[in-house]
Symmetry: C2
Subunit: 200 residues, 2 copies
């Protein structure tokens, strides 16, 4: 509570403090900054948030978030229709898109299998993925899941589910990150990179 | 740039990324979270921001930010009218208010003297502070400025400016923070705490 500011300001701080990466202190700093730069930050934020609230929706094809029922990736006729990339979350889809390295379409799982969090196959969009992979034009399913225990468990589970479909299931390579120095890498990464070594 | 989301979503991410404490990555995470919790976060944020943009203003008395021309602290008749607390910024005023330890009113400088940033006495609200301190009912001016070089320079400058007025000028005590362990404190703090030692 903060009696020194009006309840409208208080309410804005409360909402901001719930955002990931912001706590009460940084929310207060952010709101003060916004009030000081009213025309440059506060009004644009209010407008942009209202507009997104009105227009944002989940793509019924892939699970991406966009401002249309079918997202811009699924709509784009230049995308390779034979390749499907499975990601955990929309944030991962956006990260993949920033690299421009993948030319196909996506499938957002909205999570990974997790015994700890009680997330089973039915909680994720795996049945829908299996149906999408059965479309004849799909040739490859790329699993772009995190190199975590849950991510890899999910990858194996999906590979099993897709073994009946006539698609090649691949996974992102594990190894030394670009710019990475061996001395600073964990043992698991070094082992994985060694096991996946390639002839030059 | 992020072609995978609509331009409205992109615009919201851009505005959020400019907030202190958030960068592009955390802005994207925050926006995704908000879109997923549309009714709980995005719409309340849009409303609260619009309301604050419309109503927030700087108190003409003390410089606090509130939703009235005279802020709730300055308006409150129960506040001690004999005591004025000088703070650098509105965030510091709010921090003081959260402790409920100070019963008087405030004066927000909107910065501290800084040779490096080229901020001189005329850039701060020091002349206005001198005028406010000349009101007969004011008995004490508490300088609650940061224990930084700039903060302390500003405190000394203000003390000099107020030497003509018949007010007592005090400053926050420096010493060991509550819960602080000596071993983890810097030398300056230990010296300050030793010099300001009190008999029990």
């Amino acid at each position: 509570m903060n009696d020194a500011a009006g309840k409208e300001i208080e309410r804005l701080i409360d909402v901001m403090a719930k955002l990931p990466g912001l706590g009460p202190r940084s929310a207060r700093r952010a709101v003060l900054q916004m009030v000081k730069k009213r025309d440059l930050m506060l009004i644009p934020l209010a407008r942009a948030a209202a507009e997104v609230a009105e227009k944002a929706m989940v793509c019924i094809e892939c699970g991406n978030i966009d401002t249309a029922q079918i997202c811009s990736v699924c709509r784009d006729p230049r995308r390779d229709a034979s390749s499907l990339c499975v990601v955990e979350d929309v944030a991962d889809l956006w990260a993949m898109e920033r690299t421009s390295a993948f030319k196909g379409r996506y499938h957002v799982l909205s999570g990974v299998l997790s015994a700890l969090d009680g997330i089973g196959p039915d909680d994720l969009k795996i049945p829908r993925l299996v149906r999408r992979a059965e479309v004849p034009e799909i040739e490859e399913v790329v699993l772009a899941l995190g190199a975590t225990v849950d991510g890899q468990t999910t990858a194996h589970y999906i590979a099993g589910q897709l073994s009946g479909a006539s698609v090649e299931v691949t996974s992102l390579a594990q190894g030394v990150p670009v710019g990475g120095e061996l001395d600073y890498l964990d043992d698991g990464t070094i082992s994985a990179a060694l096991n996946a070594r390639r002839s030059l």
